[in-house]
């Protein structure tokens, strides 16, 4: 590691975009993504994350703002002039071509010799464990296999940047977990910058080096998964990443993570540096290893959620009066909003 910061892989400056009739999707996006990063655009649907990805890929043009890939200003370049490959949400495999031809497609249109492209396409298929079905057509594959082919096609051209648009959305949970590990492994192995779009905060936390949280066409916060979880910049980020309770205290919003909260019988006298809230258990959800309790305060407001290991939670029932206890340092005051 040197001190001089290398050129970022992606630089977005003041991007705005609206679709006809004034539906504004992006309201000024500024972002820098470093070389070799696994960077996630996270947000609810309609927050602008996919539009941002499509602007980087060149599938749409911004109303204003600039897009740099490395040193190059690509704002107005068409997709085929950008050194970027995309893994599409619906995989977008060509139905009239074999898997091998699908993967070799980019090399073919750019005039790579047949022998070389066959060799490289086969190697890419091997990498995603599909070397033995190179002659099949996409319709003969399962969803998970198609997804691997789409990944191989994005990787085979060795682009500077790979864009992934909710690529795991259509898979079942188990396959999803496997592919998360696989994607992360391949990203590390190749060192290619990944820009990943998802609305699944758990997926974002487990895979990303850094995350940008989108809401209503702006970026709420950019940071590492730990930054976002432990030091969220707003109630929106706190609510969107993990589960949280937000208490009002002297006009400030205080964030409390449920795993920091435990339950005690009423009348519990807190130790120094402990804070408490008395209340009634309004909801109990048994989740296996842990049990989640929702507490209602005296005025039916300021609810607190506690997640307690299930073996410590057997005595608590719905409707019981209890005290929620947490260490002082676990309460995180959210920064005041700038606007």
């Amino acid at each position: 590691m040197t001190n001089s910061s290398p050129t970022p892989a992606v630089r977005l400056h003041g991007l705005t975009k609206s679709y006809g009739r004034g539906a504004t999707v992006l309201r000024g996006i500024d972002l820098e993504i470093a070389q070799g990063e696994f960077f996630t655009l996270l947000g609810p649907s309609g927050s602008g994350k996919t539009t941002t990805l499509r602007l980087i890929g060149g599938f749409e043009l911004p109303d204003s703002g600039r897009i740099h890939l490395g040193e190059t200003d690509v704002t107005t370049l068409p997709p085929y002039r950008r050194n970027v490959n995309t893994m599409f949400q619906d995989y977008a495999l060509f139905p009239h071509m074999t898997l091998l031809d699908n993967i070799a497609y980019g090399m073919k249109v750019r005039g790579v010799a047949r022998d070389e492209r066959t060799e490289r396409a086969l190697a890419a298929l091997e990498m995603v464990h599909l070397g033995n079905v190179a002659d099949r057509r996409p319709t003969q594959l399962s969803g998970g296999q198609r997804q691997r082919v789409a990944l191989a096609r994005a990787l085979v051209n060795k682009p500077a940047l790979i864009l992934l648009d909710e690529p795991l959305g259509a898979l079942d949970l188990k396959l999803r977990r496997e592919m998360q590990v696989e994607l992360k492994r391949i990203q590390k192995q190749t060192g290619i910058t990944f820009v990943y779009v998802t609305h699944d905060q758990e997926e974002a936390l487990s895979m990303s080096d850094r995350i940008a949280v989108f809401s209503h066409g702006v970026i709420e916060q950019v940071g590492t998964p730990a930054d976002l979880y432990e030091r969220p910049s707003s109630a929106f980020v706190a609510r969107f990443i993990g589960s949280s309770s937000i208490l009002q205290e002297n006009g400030r919003e205080i964030l409390l993570r449920p795993e920091d909260v435990r339950l005690e019988a009423s009348g519990y006298s807190p130790a120094p540096h402990e804070q408490t809230m008395a209340g009634t258990i309004s909801e109990v959800s048994y989740l296996g290893p842990v049990t989640r309790f929702t507490l209602c305060g005296p005025d039916d407001e300021d609810g607190v959620t506690a997640i307690v290991p299930s073996r410590h939670a057997r005595s608590w029932r719905e409707g019981m009066s209890v005290v929620a206890v947490w260490p002082e340092e676990a309460a995180y005051p959210l920064p005041h909003r700038q606007d």
Binding site: G58, Y80, T86, A92, H96, Y105, R153, N157
Partner: protein, 283 residues
């Protein structure tokens, strides 16, 4: 209802359509097949039911008929190619470039001529292409010499191309609509220029639509005899016209049957070919 009665009910529903098809369609087809191998007595005009290849021998040896068969097929191919070329830009715009309202308007405009009689539409072309028709009137207006297009194979080509264009256009619109937008994005993303995207993705995926359309432009053109009669000239006879005159004028039904059978075989061969290209695959 017992299973037995249910089965009887199903059979009762199937008898009328199968009966109809069996008697009128398969029945007349087999008579056609059989009579192609019969003869007409030259003196009496009676049909002689002796098996013979004579009709086919004449059809394959007499250049009059081989020329007609080649003309029929040649113009059908020309019409198909013309309609594919004409339909592409419009089908592309209707399928992918316009909003739902304009799409509906354009499709209605394309279908509108089909609400009028085919004869009326062919006669309209006589008014356009005729010696004192709209075409020459326009040419004279800008000082160009008259063209003698009417009653030629060129007129036939123009009229057929016009008649069947909507039937090429509709399946092509359907085929182009079905191509997911993400495939076009993916091709561009992989480095294909717009022309390469068209050549390697859009065109191959539109082949089933073109094949379905060509069933009309090729097979129906091959079987037509009305347009050659109305806008064709002395050298514009189609197989259908030979069949027509042999049935109606010279009363040689076996000879007409033999030529129909050849036409039928060509159309069937073409249908098989079109099926190979996905013409009949819904979806």
């Amino acid at each position: 209802m017992t299973p037995g009665r249910k089965l009887l009910g199903h059979i009762a529903l199937l008898v009328p359509p199968f009966g109809w098809l069996g008697v009128f369609y398969l029945g007349s087809l087999s008579v056609l097949l059989l009579s192609a191998f019969w003869q007409v007595d030259a003196m009496s005009g009676e049909i002689v039911r002796d098996w013979t290849w004579e009709n086919f021998r004449i059809l394959f040896s007499d250049t009059t008929y081989t020329v007609i068969a080649r003309r029929t097929t040649g113009i059908a191919i020309l019409v198909t190619i013309t309609d594919i070329i004409l339909a592409w830009p419009l089908a592309w715009v209707i399928a992918r470039k316009v909003g739902p309202r304009l799409k509906l308007t354009l499709l209605v405009l394309v279908a509108l001529p089909l609400w009028s009689s085919m004869l009326a539409r062919i006669y309209a072309w006589r008014l356009i292409l005729g010696h004192d028709g709209v075409l020459n009137w326009g040419l004279r207006l800008v000082g160009l010499p008259d063209q003698n297009v009417a009653f030629t194979n060129i007129a036939l080509w123009i009229v057929f191309s016009y008649l069947w264009l909507p039937f090429m256009l509709m399946p092509m619109v359907a085929a182009l609509e079905r191509i997911p937008a993400s495939l076009l994005d993916a091709a561009g993303d992989q480095g294909a220029t717009p022309w390469q995207v068209f050549r390697t993705v859009v065109f191959p995926l539109a082949i089933p639509g073109m094949a379905a359309g060509s069933v009309f432009t090729f097979a129906v053109t091959q079987g037509d005899y009305v347009a050659p009669m109305l806008v064709g000239g002395a050298g514009s006879e189609f197989i259908g016209n030979v069949v027509y005159s042999n049935v109606g004028v010279s009363g040689n039904v076996p000879f007409a049957a033999a030529f129909s059978l050849i036409l039928l075989a060509m159309v069937a061969a073409y249908m098989l070919l079109a099926r190979r290209f996905g013409a009949f695959d819904a979806q």
